[in-house]
Amino acid sequence: MKAFCVAIGITTVVAWSSPVLAASVPPPGAAACSGCHAAGTVPASPVSRLYGRDAGDIMTAMTGFRDGSLPGTVMNRIAKGFSDDELRAIATWLAAQK
């Protein structure tokens, strides 16, 4: 029985310390951005690229879209769907992408 418990412990440690989900699961909402905002530098687009952008700049833009102080088209409607905490997590994740 003791050996069995040790076995559980080992398996659990292995499972939890595995590289699976190494920070690559984006926070809720973040993965959708690349539908319009290209992840790569191709194709050229009038829509700004967000990967690697300063998280503070993304946050400022999103809160501006949300309160209407920054005029836009779809972004004013989309930004209203996210809280400060959600936006912060998304901005931080986007900034960390290459």
């Binding site: 559980i8 398996t11 699976v20 191709v42 194709p43 009038p46 088209t73 989309i78």
Partner: protein, 426 residues
Amino acid sequence: MGINHRMSRREFVGAGAAAVTALAFPLPAFAQAAARVVVIGGGFGGASCARALKQIEPKLQVTLVEPNRTFTACPFSNNVIAGLRSLEEQQFGYDKIAAGGVTVVAQAATAIDAKARTVGLADGTSLAYDRLVLSPGVDLRFEALPGYDEAAAAKMPHAWKAGEQTLLLRKQLEAMDDGGLVVIAVPANPFRCPPGPYERACLIAHYLKTKKPRSKLIILDAKDTFSKQRLFQNAWKELYPGMIEWVSLSQGGKVNSVDPATNTLITDFGNHTAQVANVIPPQRAGRIATIAGATDNTGWCAIDPVTFESKSAPNIHVIGDACIAGSMPKSAFSANSQAKACASAVATLIAGRTPEAPKLINTCYSLAAPGYGFSVAGVYQPKNGLFADVEGAGGVSPADVPRDFRAREADYANSWFATITAEVFG
């Protein structure tokens, strides 16, 4: 071919002592080896999901099953019908997806054994999986519209799956005399691309106005309201006065049957004989979803909105047009957005952890004419087992804006197509 004939989990579990271990530690222990995810359907949903899975966890063995070697995109195919774009611009291959480590199998999936966790392919081979993602899109319900079948579609094209049908409708419009009548029959909800029929009406009218200005277009609709209705109706008045007539359900718009011999559409209120008849029939989830046991009596797939796992078929996840996604429309953007969230959920489940509730976005652009676009956007989260709109967010483009706003949204529509197809296939 790259088909894996590894032992299925069930066979493995059956192997005596290993069964104890497997029961005690269901997923994580095996996930370390190389969990197998099979994705069926290489459209905006499936191709996005296969790629996202590999990006999130490169160790996963990801197989994409898609019989066609070339994908033909539906968004922007109305531009092809209107002569504004070539079909080649709608077409994409799977080479880059394969180069990224996804095994692409150019076979049709014909059987699914949800208990044994295997997918049978048309060539008689099979694939074992730990988790299966279905993104089969829609099947046309020919049987739901008397008189309409595949043979009738060669005369009265649906053009609701891009490719030959798109070109057929284009050719019929080119061959039509000035002064001809074009009729578009639109089904009741739900169906793929809710604003699509009305955008199609606009862009066909654009062609007619330019080349055959005495012609007319009638939309026979099985609904009393439709997506972006005010924006479309304003655009019809502004851009195509007197050319487009919309007949709603309550005005007798529902097409009950068609007669391909005479190109006639029959409603309760009378018959319409068209020079060009575009019949968009009712739809359901692609057939493989039913084979998998993932469809309910509506013909669509009920899912858990956190994991996208089927409510009736365990370890099978359904994304895109085939799933019942509550407020989310059946669009390429939705499918791509769901695909990435599903990939995160599947990778998290394989790691033996609990997925976080996703937040999804949809943005759909429609073009009323070249340089004249508008959009609907939404933000969604799981609520009562479905995706619900996040209150206060989303909505359609404003009704009263200067033309440069429409021009900007048309630019964004074009760049959306370039960006999303690069993300999925490029």
